[in-house]
């Protein structure tokens, strides 16, 4: 079987995010970028399927600016066989990403699409679900375990109350949660090999997709600074404050 993995280039999780002074977004100039951590888990899962002999080919896909090639090289260094970049300077919202992925899926005909449950920059948690709906495929979201057998997949999902196990048909869109696996580090020899693996570039126009944003960002702000607490002298004062100030009892 063939597995398609979607990876997103985001601000590195160790970077302290700064909001742009004009409140239009976050500062990304000269900021370290890397692969969305949930997508690393998706790549790891796909590579493990290949190593287990279940998958025959792993194709990594990224969408966005030219520099997404670096993110794809990371996926290749982790073990993906080849990569596709859908290159555009345009802002891509989840619906546009899902539509573009649908066209890539149509070209590649994978049996499974793996992607992170959300990206750490916008935390939208939408792309996987939208893609499954557009394709009319089964979906297994928030996966912490994926088992493939007899043309079906058993997906253990992380839900609010605990773990839910679903059995779904292939082809499948699966989105990965943190506990699915521990992604490997790209080793130096594999980084060197990744340079020689094929990386193709497509454009939204070639795929016939209109990526115009459907949502408008009004304003981006820092979270409010947490106010300092106070010490109360006794329990009576605390009860009083809870009643009169916090009004919670």
């Amino acid at each position: 079987m063939k597995v398609l993995v979607a990876v997103k280039r985001v601000v590195d999780y160790n970077v302290k995010i700064r909001v742009k002074s004009d409140n239009t977004g976050v500062e990304t100039a000269n900021v370290k970028m890397s692969m969305n951590p949930f997508d690393e888990i998706a790549v790891e899962e796909a590579v493990r399927l290949k190593e287990a002999g279940t998958a025959s080919e792993v194709v990594a896909v990224s969408l966005g600016v030219k520099q997404c090639q670096e993110t794809l090289r990371t996926a290749l260094a982790m073990g993906a066989d080849r990569a596709i970049l859908v290159e555009t300077e345009a802002e891509l919202q989840p619906l546009a990403v899902a539509k573009l992925l649908k066209e890539v899926v149509a070209k590649e005909s994978p049996d499974m699409v793996l992607l992170g449950k959300q990206a750490i920059d916008d935390d939208a948690n939408q792309t996987g679900q939208m893609l499954a709906a557009l394709m009319g495929w089964a979906q297994g979201t928030f996966a912490s375990k994926i088992t493939l057998a007899d043309g079906k997949a058993e997906v253990v999902r992380e839900v609010d109350g605990g773990l839910e196990t679903v059995s779904v048909n292939l082809p499948l869109v699966a989105t990965t949660d943190l506990r699915l696996n521990e992604p490997r580090y790209a080793s130096l020899p594999n980084i060197m090999k990744a340079k020689k693996k094929p990386l193709d570039t497509l454009t939204p126009d070639e795929l016939g997709v209109d990526v115009a944003p459907r949502l408008t960002t009004l304003k981006v702000e820092e979270p409010p600074v947490r106010q300092a607490g106070i010490k109360v002298p006794d329990v009576a004062t605390l009860i009083d404050k809870l009643k009169t100030e916090a009004k919670v009892i």
Binding site: N14, S34, R73, Y185, L188, P189, M192
Partner: protein, 601 residues
């Protein structure tokens, strides 16, 4: 986020903007290592350093290796981190492809090592010793020795050591006594005691490859009688796998001030039948071979000291951003909130001094790394010879300057934290203790000074010194017309004229019968020339930073480059002026140190 890691922008600045390491990919040996590849390698290094080296830095300090039933017990995190390091290919980074190496440029590997060293220098030391042993075998070993030992060393399956020091022969290697007796099968049996052998015994690798200096039975006294031997902890069996234990006894562990995660050992070779070993290189050439490794090791020691300078800087900077104390001058209202101590000029002074030391030191060691690359792979023989010469004269400085001044930086890091800095609840005291080793090992400060003044400055009629001065003058000439840097260029030019005169004076004194007095001042000379060299490298950094600022970069980059210029300015305002009085003293060559009778102490 770990506060002690060296920021990526800093490494990128030094590697790509200052040293242009991506151009090394034009050379066949490094053809696979373009900028993208180097960046991806640094990504992996950073992730591993953060996830698997930094977290046990403190624990390894608190739980130093101990003996249990005759075996060395190390906390499990050390071995786990090194296994990941090896699996990711870092142990093989600079090795030849023929033996499983990746042919990463030396300069890039130094930057990678600095990242790991800032995170956890005592765990990194096992890796550095192993890489150094592999380098030595790849240069001096026989074909059979390479086949046997290089693949497992580069894979991190075996670790390496350097066994030079003996109880009676530390700085004075000429006096070492370990002896090697030839056997009929071409091997040797070694007998002798070695001390301060880092990584000398542990269970972290399947075998330990000791590179041991010893004397053959008919060897002349002194350094010419010293040969180099490869002596493994376990002798290879018929299949090459580690077999029977060699006759090497662990006589004890040494309890150090810092670098506590690295075992330091007393080893007795040949308590019974003799430890089996094999000659590496020619008989009598042991010290020359070892010095090949030592020279690179000395740059690596300086590089580690620079990394610890960065660690202390980042640790104290993080504290200064968070810790609120006092109010700005003029704000007397006690009802106003206190400000982070980073707002206070005196704290900024201590942080900028640390930045100038740490970033100046790393620029120096990576510059030397670039010279090592040029020495091996520059296009033509004259360029290689030139790199060799510059490296010769810069090596004692690259070892000593970071060791001395980044330790002073760590001292300031403690000061920034005040009382908390003096507790074991904060990392800066460990950083200082770790760094305190660096002026001592791989040749003490004094030995480096003797090497510089007694040997490097004089060799080839002063060719290396002249070349260094030429390089400094070229940077001065190029900076003279750049307005913000012109005054720095002028200051450096003035001091360089004096350095040349002082050097000539010292050489004349040595030739004129005052060698003992002159060499007694070698440490001062080392410090003076070291400051001049680092000032020069700061001027080079400032030129790159100024060019970047001229391109009107975004806010974060603007702040980074402005910080670079400020550190350069600090160095020229407060560090370079120290050189004048040192040169004054070197001109006088006061005889008190050399002449004072011992009973007057």
């Amino acid at each position: 986020m770990d506060d002690s890691l060296i920021p990526r922008r800093e490494l990128d600045f030094l590697l790509f903007d200052l040293l242009e390491v991506e151009r090394l990919a034009e050379r066949p040996r490094h053809a696979d290592h373009g900028r993208d590849t180097i960046a991806a390698m640094l990504d992996t290094a950073e992730a591993l350093a953060r996830d698997h080296f930094a977290p046990h830095n403190r624990k390894a300090d608190e739980a130093e290796p101990r003996l249990e039933n005759g075996r060395v017990v190390t906390i499990p995190e050390v071995g786990a981190a090194l296994r990941r390091f090896s699996e990711a290919g870092f142990m093989a980074a600079v090795g030849d492809a023929e033996w499983g190496g990746l042919q990463v440029p030396y300069s890039v590997n130094l930057a990678i090592n600095a990242l790991f060293s800032a995170a956890n220098i005592s765990t990194m030391t096992y890796a550095f010793l192993t890489q150094a042993a592999a380098n030595l075998i790849s240069v001096f070993g026989s074909q059979a020795q390479k086949e046997t030992w290089l693949p497992p060393l580069l894979a991190g399956d075996f670790f390496g050591t350097m066994a030079l020091t003996e109880p009676q022969a530390g700085s004075s290697l000429a006096d070492l006594r370990t002896r090697a007796e030839p056997q009929e099968d071409g091997s040797y049996r070694l007998f002798g005691a070695k001390i301060f052998i880092s990584g000398g015994e542990h269970e972290l690798a399947r075998n330990i490859v000791h590179l041991v200096l010893a004397r053959l039975p008919d060897a002349p006294p002194g350094v010419k009688g010293i040969s180099l031997f490869l002596v493994p902890r376990f002798l290879p069996g018929p299949d090459g796998a580690p077999g029977e234990k060699n006759d090497i006894a662990l006589a004890g562990l040494i309890h150090k001030m810092g670098y506590r995660g690295t075992t330091s050992t007393l080893l007795n070779f040949g308590e019974a039948e003799g430890a089996t070993g094999w000659l590496v290189g020619e008989a009598g050439q042991g010290l020359a071979a070892m010095f090949h490794m030592m020279n690179e090791s000395r740059v690596i020691v300086g590089n580690g000291a620079a990394a610890l300078g960065h660690a202390g800087y980042r640790q104290s900077l993080a504290y200064a951003r968070e810790r609120a104390q006092g109010r700005p001058p003029g704000a007397k209202d006690p009802a106003t909130p206190q400000v982070p101590i980073l707002r206070h000029a005196d704290v900024k002074r201590m942080l900028l001094a640390q930045k100038a030391y740490a970033e100046g030191a790393l620029a120096l060691t990576l510059y030397c790394g670039r010279l090592i690359d040029d020495e091996h792979t520059a296009d033509d023989a004259p360029a290689r010879a030139e790199a060799r010469r510059l490296l010769d004269i810069l090596t004692p400085i690259a070892k000593s300057w970071p060791s001395q001044w980044c330790l002073e930086g760590n001292n300031l890091a403690i000061q920034v934290l005040g009382g908390y800095g003096y507790t074991r609840d904060y990392p800066v005291e460990q950083t200082w203790r770790d760094n305190r080793l660096n002026p001592i090992h791989e040749g003490t400060h004094g030995i480096q000074a003797q090497d510089l003044l007694g040997r490097k400055v004089r060799q080839e009629d002063g060719a290396a010194f002249a070349l260094l001065c030429d390089r400094i003058e070229a940077t001065i000439a190029a900076s003279r017309d750049t307005p913000p840097l012109a005054s720095h260029a002028g200051a450096l030019e003035n001091i360089l004229v004096r350095v040349r005169a002082t050097t000539a004076g010292l050489l004349a004194a040595m030739a004129g019968g005052r060698a003992e007095t002159a060499l007694g001042h070698a440490s001062v000379y080392l410090e003076a020339l070291g400051h001049v060299v680092v000032a020069w490298l700061w001027l080079k950094q400032a030129r790159v930073a100024q060019a970047g600022l001229d391109a009107a970069p975004a806010a974060a980059e603007h702040a980074f480059l402005t910080g670079k210029l400020a550190a350069c300015h600090h160095f020229f305002a407060w560090e370079l002026p120290r050189v004048g009085p040192w040169l004054d003293g070197l001109a006088v060559l006061d005889g008190t140190w050399a002449s004072l009778p011992e009973d007057c102490f």
